[in-house]
């Protein structure tokens, strides 16, 4: 699983932190999204996909591990 963040879009709604706190954080000092874990364990895949779906501005893009997209 490859996670691509576009912090320039982030509006700090915090959906990602709420959904996958192990993977996403809101950084200091600006409160914009940061990646805590760029290569999360498999059991977190569902949460990461949910976070990508919930992010209101599409700042989180997830590509499957296998194929290089």
């Amino acid at each position: 699983m490859k996670i691509d963040l576009d912090p320039t879009r982030c509006v700090g709604a915090g959906q990602c932190v709420l959904t996958a706190p192990e993977v996403f954080d809101q950084g200091d000092p600006d409160g914009v999204v940061v990646l805590r874990d760029p290569d999360p364990a498999d059991e977190l895949t569902e949460d990461v996909l949910a976070a990508a779906d919930l992010c209101p501005v599409g700042a989180i893009l997830v590509a499957d591990g296998g194929d290089d997209r």
Binding site: V11, G12, A13, G14, V17, Q26, D53, V57, G58
Partner: protein
């Protein structure tokens, strides 16, 4: 037969108007007449509502001619200093980013103990003596107002004035002038408060913004005052309505209310999300205007068309939510639109979650015998306001 005007009348106080639900369950997207004769497109399905709220080709700027504003009072938002709510990008994100750090999940969590203490204080006063009261006046409003005043650093002593001005901005029987006057009065009040605090900034939202942004020139006094106005008004009325209407819903579902006594944070969080979804108090839809042609999941919208995302109907779309029209905190709903979607998605949502969680938790624990004091038909629901809720909620315990 004259066509009913959106948002149409409710039948059940807990459900969206049946007409709106019916439109969602039809294959085509319809235009609906609104109060001022305009005929915007009404998007009632979850997937469509997300496109309308998330696609940057839809503008939130109420100053645009032809914008499908929700009421005469809402038009006043375009007459005083603009707030985040009506800004488009790139301006919107630039302003929102100046304040983001105050609203992170972590910052909201850091308020939890303090919020619980505010709720406890209100419950102390309720149980002191009488066995009856009004959950709106005794709990919902004081909790929501005290908290937002403390967050911002505005005097809690002026709570009644803030409540009255917010009411005047949101009561649908008002005019653009009456709502504009209330808005201007609050903007002026907050501008002088900022001016005063510039000399001695406190350790609160207004103080911190003065130190980091006003003194550095990133934000001027009027912009900070407009931001404080938005937080003060958007931040207490919504939360207070969710507290009262949410507790009413829980009292009608005693098993789900009792479940909050088990000190299970997961259950508490799920209950709050489900109440937000089921009740969706932003009852007049979220309005936008297309600035370019947009294809909304196969439905063409032309530049200049007004659109409405009916988030109350979308939040019960069976294609997205298993519980659909039912209230079911065990269904673990995710991604509801009660806080909107896209760049304007509620800035205060993490704070709102903590406020609601702590209020429901403390009430469930301390007032286990809580009951509604009058029959349902006698309750006054806020069909006359921009945001749904209850005018009063008489209770005994």
């Amino acid at each position: 037969m004259t066509e009913p005007v959106y948002p149409m009348a409710r039948q059940c106080p807990f459900d969206p108007p049946p007409e709106v639900t019916r439109l969602r369950d039809q294959p085509q997207v319809s235009r609906v007449p609104i109060w001022n004769g305009m005929r915007p497109w009404l998007f009632t399905r979850f997937d469509d509502a997300r496109v309308v709220l998330g696609d940057p080709r839809f503008s939130a700027d109420k100053r645009r001619p032809g914008y499908p504003v929700s009421s005469a009072v809402a038009l006043a938002e375009a007459t005083v200093e603009p707030t985040l709510l009506i800004m488009d990008n790139p301006e919107h994100d630039a302003v929102r980013r100046l304040v983001l750090s105050e609203f992170t999940v972590r910052r909201a969590e850091s308020w939890r103990t303090r919020i619980a203490a505010i709720v406890d204080g209100c419950v102390d006063r309720m149980v002191d003596g009488r066995g009856h009261g009004d959950l709106v006046a005794d709990l919902a409003l004081p909790v929501a107002l005290s908290f937002v005043c403390e967050l911002l650093g505005v005097p809690a002593a002026d709570r009644e004035r803030f409540r009255r001005l917010t009411h005047d901005m949101n009561v649908l029987s008002g005019t653009t002038e009456t709502a504009g006057a209330a808005r201007q009065e609050l903007q002026d009040y907050l501008e002088s408060l900022v001016a005063e605090r510039e000399r001695e900034p406190g350790d609160d939202f207004v103080g911190r913004m003065i130190v980091t942004h006003v003194r550095t020139g990133a934000m001027d006094r009027r912009t900070l005052a407009a931001m404080a106005l938005l937080l003060l008004t958007a931040g207490h009325d919504t939360t207070a309505n969710m507290i009262s209407l949410g507790l009413l819903t829980l009292l009608r579902n005693p098993a789900h209310f009792a479940a909050l006594r088990t000190d299970d944070p997961g259950r508490l969080a799920d209950t709050v999300e489900e109440l937000l979804r089921y009740l969706t108090i932003v009852q007049r839809g979220i309005r936008r205007m297309a600035v370019e042609d947009v294809d909304v999941n196969g439905h063409p919208v032309r530049a200049g068309d007004g659109v409405i995302a009916a988030i109350n109907a979308a939040n019960r779309d069976p294609a997205r939510f298993a519980a659909g029209e039912r209230f079911d905190p065990t269904a673990r709903p995710h991604g509801h639109l009660a806080f909107g979607y896209g760049p304007h998605q509620c800035l205060g949502q993490s704070l709102a979650r903590v406020e609601l969680q702590e209020t429901y938790r403390v009430v469930a624990r301390r007032l286990p015998g809580l009951r509604v004091g009058v029959p349902l038909e006698r309750l006054r629901f806020k069909s006359d306001m921009a945001v749904y809720g209850l005018h009063e909620l008489p209770v005994t315990w």
